[in-house]
């Protein structure tokens, strides 16, 4: 009986191994045919060793094997390296320098009325199959976006662009429906996490249905981009990309070939597994599976080659945490009560949950504090002196409650027999990690101490999103993505423009007017500072959203095999390997001596 069982086990293991969990394409393992295109790697026959391989622990199975970035299922954050290493953007926005750095394009010009953009493209770019990249591809992609019923991440582009035409193989002209001096930054560049416009090869898409074509067939060299890597193998637990030694940028002398010959995206597992992978240097980066500074510190004790963005402190994610207040629900439609709520919260204590034992990172505003934005906030420090968002002041809160007719009974503020309650919709630990369990307890405790009857409503991302869409909350935890260099995008979140993520339903006509005025100015225009001060004065007075915490995200980078990772001291660009800008990191990585 035991012999039979052993035989069965061996048989099953052999079958599963040989089948790779399935067969081809319709199953879990897909491998590119050799020579899938004309521009093959010069030494593709040799398997890259560990010292030549970059291992990134951020793969998330199952993958639907979607290469077309305009299909709704394409999720830039489900990372198999496509948007970082296979595709390339026309421009990359660098949060550190504040510059929009040209890549496939060489530059752009706006017309005087900001209604027309003329893009200049490089003349030496080639797709991975050797076909030249030109204005034909840009125009084709844009025209398909304009025709599509629902072009997913490019929906804004569809709404903003009237038409496009090629002026020459290296020049295109885009006519906009309304003046938009930020169109290149926010729509054509890698901006927050990814780019909304990713040029696609017209010669591959021709004859296909743009809205349903998966653009994914490794045997045919798809997905195909102009980037330095090709996706060559996808299994149930990893995606492998091989360097294209004939990459156009290296051939043109525009960039060095990236040093890693092979990049593997693998699943890091839960935090403990990711920490173990970093300790043993099986991983060069553990993705977002190391959400805590404590996890990073534990790993570094065993592997001193691990570094974080800034000492123990992680990189600030572009989307700080805040509490959206539903300004249409009583009594929180009263701005003074929102200030009392703000004063009831000890944000420094809250922020320590996320970066213990690092420095507190309580958020002064809802802007991510990248250099340009921090400078702007500092220049208007007097605003924050008048409206001290970071002050935890229970006496001040009590004064406001009393002035509104509330009396404290059994520890809870009460008016007309009704307790002051707050339906607080929060991310559950299942949604964003165990820290949100502690966060819920802490907020509950702080608000109850302040005399507010809290009704905690934790939910997974989907539940929180649905609640947000319906406005079924008094306060809700959320990410305030928007600006990274110029203040307009974050300020615009709170206007009443259609499609904005203004879930608190706050309205202020004067604020809207100021932000609209700012929107017509080119980033860097000196008048923006003045408009910022005026708009923020209104926003702070009304406080429709309560800033909670800058969002330091451990970006744990392993220097055992690879060096020159971006850090605060060497901040050539933002470090997040899940962002499209990782393209700008991998071209600068250098092999480490020890790992060879």
């Amino acid at each position: 009986m035991i012999g039979a069982a052993v035989l069965l086990i061996v048989l099953v293991v052999v079958i599963v191994s040989v089948a790779g969990g399935g067969g081809d394409d319709d199953t879990s393992t897909t491998r590119a045919a050799s020579g899938g295109g004309t521009a093959t790697s010069s030494d593709s026959g040799r398997e890259a060793g560990r010292a030549e391989t970059l291992v990134l622990g951020q793969y998330r199975a199952p993958t639907g094997k979607i290469g077309n970035p305009y299909v709704q299922a394409s999720d830039a954050l489900v990372s198999d390296g496509l948007h970082e290493l296979v595709y390339e953007a026309l421009f990359y926005v660098n949060y550190q320098t504040g510059r929009t750095e040209p890549w496939l394009a060489t530059g752009y010009e706006y017309s005087d009325d900001n209604r027309t953009v003329t893009l200049r493209l490089r003349d030496d770019v080639r797709w991975a199959d050797g076909t030249p990249f030109s204005s034909r591809d840009v125009v084709y992609t844009m025209e398909q976006i304009l025709k599509a019923r629902a072009p997913f991440r490019a929906a804004n582009i569809q709404g903003a662009v009237r038409s496009i035409r090629a002026l020459s193989p290296t020049e295109v002209q885009i006519d906009l429906r309304a003046p938009n001096p930020r169109f290149v930054d926010s729509e054509l560049s890698s901006y927050v996490y990814t780019a909304n416009f990713i040029p696609l090869p017209e010669h591959v898409f021709r004859g296909e249905d743009f809205e349903t074509f998966a653009f994914y067939d490794l045997a045919r060299g798809l997905p195909m981009g102009t980037g330095p890597y090709r996706l060559t193998e996808v299994t149930a637990s990893a995606a492998t990309l091989q360097r294209d030694d004939d990459w156009w940028a290296a051939r043109a002398g525009f960039s060095e070939l990236p040093a890693p010959r092979r990049v593997v995206y693998t699943s890091p597992g839960p935090e403990d597994s990711a920490v173990a992978g970093l300790e043993s240097s099986q991983l060069d980066y553990a993705g977002q599976s190391v959400p805590s500074v404590a996890g990073f510190i534990a790993a570094r004790e065993r592997n001193p080659k691990l570094v974080n963005w800034d000492g123990d402190l992680g990189w600030l994610d572009p989307c700080p945490f805040a509490l959206t207040i539903n300004t249409t629900r009583r009594p929180w439609d009263d701005a003074e009560l929102r200030w009392a709520l703000n004063a009831s919260l000890d944000k420094e204590q809250f922020s320590r949950l996320f970066n213990t034992p690092g420095e507190p990172t309580a958020a002064r505003t809802t802007f991510p504090e990248y250099p340009q934005l921090s400078a702007l906030i500092d220049e208007n420090e007097d605003l924050l002196a008048t409206y001290p968002t970071l002050d935890h002041d229970l006496e001040r809160a009590a004064q406001i409650f009393e002035s509104k007719g509330y009396r404290r009974e059994n520890g809870v503020w009460t008016k007309d027999g009704e307790p002051l309650s707050l339906a607080l919709n929060l991310f559950s630990p299942a949604a964003l990690g165990p820290v949100w369990g502690d966060a819920a307890q802490l907020l509950n405790q702080q608000l109850r101490e302040a005399g507010i009857a809290v009704d905690l409503q934790p939910g997974d991302f989907n539940t929180v999103a649905a609640t947000r869409a319906d406005g079924r909350f008094d306060a809700q935890s959320w990410f305030e993505c928007g600006s990274v260099t110029d203040p307009w995008a974050t300020l615009n979140r709170y206007t009443h423009a259609p499609g904005n993520d203004n879930a608190g339903r706050w309205r202020n006509a004067e604020y809207d007017r100021l932000v609209a005025q700012m929107g017509e100015l080119t980033p860097g225009d000196p008048r923006i500072g003045e408009l910022y001060a005026q708009a923020m004065e209104i926003w702070l007075r009304e406080l429709p959203v309560i800033p909670l915490n800058q969002r330091p995200t451990p970006i744990v980078m392993n220097q055992t095999y690879w060096e020159n990772w971006p850090t605060a001291d060497n901040g050539y660009t933002q470090p997040a390997p899940f962002g499209m800008n990782f393209h700008q990191v991998i071209t600068r990585l250098q092999p480490a001596g020890d790992g060879q």
Binding site: M1, A4, A5, I9, V12, V13, V16, S17, V18, A19, G22, T27, R50, A61, P62, G64, K65, V71, Q72, A73, D75, A150, F152, R153, A155, N156, Q158, G159, A160, Y191, V192, Y193, T194, A214, T235, A236, S237, A238, T240, V264, P268, G269, S273, V275, A276, G277, P318, C319, A430, G459, F461, T463, A465, A466, A469, W478, F479, G482, G499, N500
Partner: protein
């Protein structure tokens, strides 16, 4: 067993599947949120001010038929299901649900079915030996220690194994089904690599379930030991090994077979925690991702698999019982 009984039993199987599938369809649709809102909100959460957000959501809802009344969606779903079509994954469109399940199923079956069979074989054998009168006392004591694991949930055993063998000793991988960097050394190395990756998750199940099967077998053996047929076998002077295996074990094993069949049915559903802990690319991970994103067709597809395997295992067992135990006859006096 009569044909009439077999047909009734098969019809009952289909009724069970239909009821469960129906309940699941309405349950997942009644949960807050939907896959399209989820995707668009995620995009908005990453800094997109989507001026056409509501229109985008409506268009996608129309494309996936989510704009129709729930009852109409249900009728469409059942019609498609009757033709063997589980539809497309919403979050992985245009990937079919069958493709996602097909990718994951071999890993789940390979790991869990093997581990379950192994724990059944070992557990039954050890349980039988524990009750057998001539087993030495020290051996019984040793075997009893295995039963400790029956009291510990398998995912806790998994955490313990992970801590010792993967984090501290670092002699086995922390997760995944294969070395992401690949293996050199041909097919044998690939088999060894797969085995290494399956060892910890498999062992956590084997340890937990061996004790469970031991307990069941021990109880059955105790009740069989005083039977007349054993006395007769001994009186005939048959070798002890033969009496143990052919007379005692064979008689006592029938309820164990039932238990195995039930647990084999749970193999698919029972994999979730182990697969998440070990990042094992099986059905459990597919289900967790689908629930997280409210990917209705995938949730329904995976649940259908679970129902079919559980109900199917019981159906097969029912039909095979008369062959295992000649005393059982259906539909005859």
């Amino acid at each position: 067993m009569t044909l009439d009984y077999a047909l009734r039993r098969i019809a009952f199987f289909f009724v069970v599947v239909w009821i469960t599938v129906t309940a699941m369809f309405f349950l997942v649709h009644l949960a807050p949120g939907d896959p399209i809102t989820d995707q668009v909100t995620r995009m908005q959460a990453s800094g997109q001010a989507l001026s056409a957000g509501p229109e985008l959501i409506e268009e996608y809802r129309r494309q996936f038929g989510l704009d129709k009344p729930l009852l109409e969606q249900y009728v469409d779903y059942v019609k498609e299901l009757a033709q063997g079509n589980l539809g497309y994954s919403v979050t992985n469109f245009p990937t079919r649900v069958t493709t996602l399940i097909g990718d994951a199923l071999p890993w789940t079956l390979g790991l869990l079915a093997t581990a379950m069979v192994l724990s059944w074989v070992v557990g039954s054998l050890l349980g039988g030996l524990m009750a057998w009168r001539s087993t030495p006392a020290f051996a019984r004591g040793l075997m009893s220690s295995v039963m400790l694991f029956a009291a510990i949930p398998y995912y806790l055993v998994a955490l313990l194994l992970l801590y010792v063998f993967a984090y501290e000793l670092q002699i086995l991988p922390t997760g995944g089904a294969r070395d992401p960097l690949g293996t050199s050394g041909g097919p044998f190395a690939a088999v060894l690599d797969t085995f290494e990756h399956a060892l910890l998750p498999g062992l956590s199940i084997v340890l937990a379930f061996t004790g469970f099967f031991m307990l069941g077998m021990r109880s059955m053996m105790v009740s069989v030991l005083g039977s007349d047929h054993l006395l007769l076998a001994e009186a005939k002077g048959l070798p002890e090994r033969r009496i143990f295996l052919r007379y005692a074990m064979r008689t006592a094993i029938l309820p164990q077979v039932t238990t195995l069949a039930i647990y084999m049915g749970y193999v698919v559903s029972g994999s979730i925690l182990v697969e998440v802990l070990f990042s094992y690319p099986g059905l459990g991970k597919v289900l967790v991702s689908a629930v997280d994103a409210r990917d209705y067709p995938v949730i329904q597809g995976v649940v259908l698999m679970m129902v079919v395997t559980t109900a199917g295992a019981l159906l097969i067992l029912d039909l095979l019982y008369p062959l295992i135990d000649p005393r059982i006859r259906y539909g005859r006096d």
